[in-house]
Symmetry: C2
Subunit: 313 residues, 2 copies
């Protein structure tokens, strides 16, 4: 029974994960399991991850196609206020699961270098948002905690921009063109960190990289990098070349799909490089995609900057 | 009915306030009303503050002595994920109130320069914590939002230190001395911002102030400042002199009692000065108190720094 005393509601004291289910099986199960373990440790919560995983597998079997959302919160504590009892290694927790039946569109897909299949969404355009994400202390940075009010406000801004864009297209008599699919969000330090509901990967022009001592060491040109041209994939979007992704050590959520992609490229000649994406880098972008565990990869064809300038890829 | 779909639980999408009730009346009612109005505006929530205040007054009348906690959350939205519907000025909300009977100890009190009575807690000692608070974007900084996981971890650290301190006192055969009453917490920029459950006010040595151009303008020496010696107060703690408080424009919660005190000193010769409290300032501290709306002022006799050094006031 959920009450207003629940610390997840009162203080955002907990975490969540959203799990895709296809044919009764959990997508990226090992990664979700790792999230349970790492988040329980970071928040000092006593989660029996093995038992929870077994429960989720049973839910998935019943659901067959859809999404399971899991919320883990610290139980009500004997001490008043924000604190929690100190004489235990980890606090007891409450777990809420909600299964929602839906069909995950798997029509378009490609293959990662390690052979894993990856959903590819239709091309979309993106826009830089003015809303900013919190800079978080080390135990919280990268966590999918219940404290998501900064992402809520960023998503609200994106919704308003989408509504405005749709309206002006109708007014001007244009056909409904490319939708704005995602917003790119900065954190309080000014670095561009992630999308409103996804992580971001990007490519830079080679000239930019030549000037960038930090990146040179790991840089491999696209000529001798992994190529997916020899696999039978439906999607035309290429993942060739050197990808970068923001480090998420001070803000953002380190998503499951982000880690899947990092791991898939780890043993290629172009492993993904963790690199902050700053304002100076934006004119040198030559590729960008967003990703999350449910949608896979969302390739971006254009990015509208805060200045109104539009970059096309 | 509270469900796991509630956005307060799912994303911390809302705010709260905790209201003291004495003799059936709401303490600092105008300030709590202002919080309802300002937080609803910041989070784009459609709160009928007048109607909610009337409800709270009725609760207070029934409760007579105690605390009412109010949680306001955005209702479930038609759009999936973090976002909220864009075609309304503000989102509908759900409100949860919980009244808890308790006696607020009003034995010790003093008077503010504007004549308002102020609770004074027993002297306590404080300690600098290693846990840090998030740096928040402008609409969220200073808000009592439901995103309090950074304060939860800071309070957890304080609980552990209290337990350890109690244990070692018992082991060494000491009488239980001065308890550690509160922890001082930095934000991600390194500035000391507030307590784990309170705001902080501080005084600096005059020599420090003479070197500080920023502060000189508003500085008045304690000789010609407001004095509360002529009022009949039970407490020996003096609020004379120049007080500073961190600005809370990038982190922390701007509490009701903090604003009460700022307003009370506004028309004196020593209005409270908003001034960041940095590591360099700590050796020059000559006074410190924490405050919140339920406990009033918590005077601090000593502060243990991260180095282990103890400052006494």
């Amino acid at each position: 029974m959920l009450t207003p005393d629940n610390r997840g509601l009162a203080y955002g004291d907990g975490f969540f994960t959203t799990i895709g289910v296809i044919d009764g099986l959990i997508l990226w199960q090992d990664y979700h399991y790792q999230r349970l373990v790492s988040h329980a440790h970071a928040l000092q919560l006593a989660v029996d991850s093995d038992s929870l995983l077994a429960t989720l597998q049973a839910h998935a079997q019943l659901l067959q196609q859809g999404v399971i959302k899991v919320i883990v919160t610290r139980t009500v504590q004997a001490v008043r206020g924000y604190g929690f009892v100190a004489n235990v290694a980890a606090s007891p927790c409450e777990i809420w699961c909600k299964a929602t039946a839906m069909t995950i569109n798997t029509a378009q897909h490609t293959y990662l270098p390690d052979g894993n299949s990856l959903l590819i969404q239709p091309m979309t355009s993106a826009i830089c948002l003015t809303a900013q994400l919190a800079c978080l202390p080390p135990p919280l940075a990268g966590l999918k905690s219940l404290n998501r009010l900064d992402s809520v406000l960023a998503s609200g801004e994106l919704q308003r921009l989408k509504a405005k864009s749709l309206e002006s297209n109708i007014e001007l008599g244009f056909d409904k063109g490319l939708d704005v699919g995602e917003g790119l969000v900065r954190d309080m330090s000014g670095s561009w960190v992630e999308g409103t509901m996804s992580n971001v990967f990007y490519q830079l022009s080679a000239s930019q990289l030549a000037n960038n001592a930090q990146s040179l060491e790991n840089f491999a040109t696209s000529e001798n990098s992994y190529s997916n041209n020899d696999v039978n994939n439906d999607a035309s979007y290429s993942l060739d070349g050197q990808w970068f992704t923001p480090p998420l050590t001070q803000s953002g959520v380190a998503g499951v799909m982000r880690q899947v992609i990092i791991d898939a490229f780890a043993k290629t000649e172009t492993p993904v490089i963790m690199r902050a994406l700053n304002d100076d880098d934006l004119p040198n972008l030559r590729g960008l995609f967003f990703c999350n565990a449910l949608r896979g990869v969302m390739p971006v064809t254009s990015l509208t900057l805060l200045s109104g300038e539009v970059l096309s890829f």
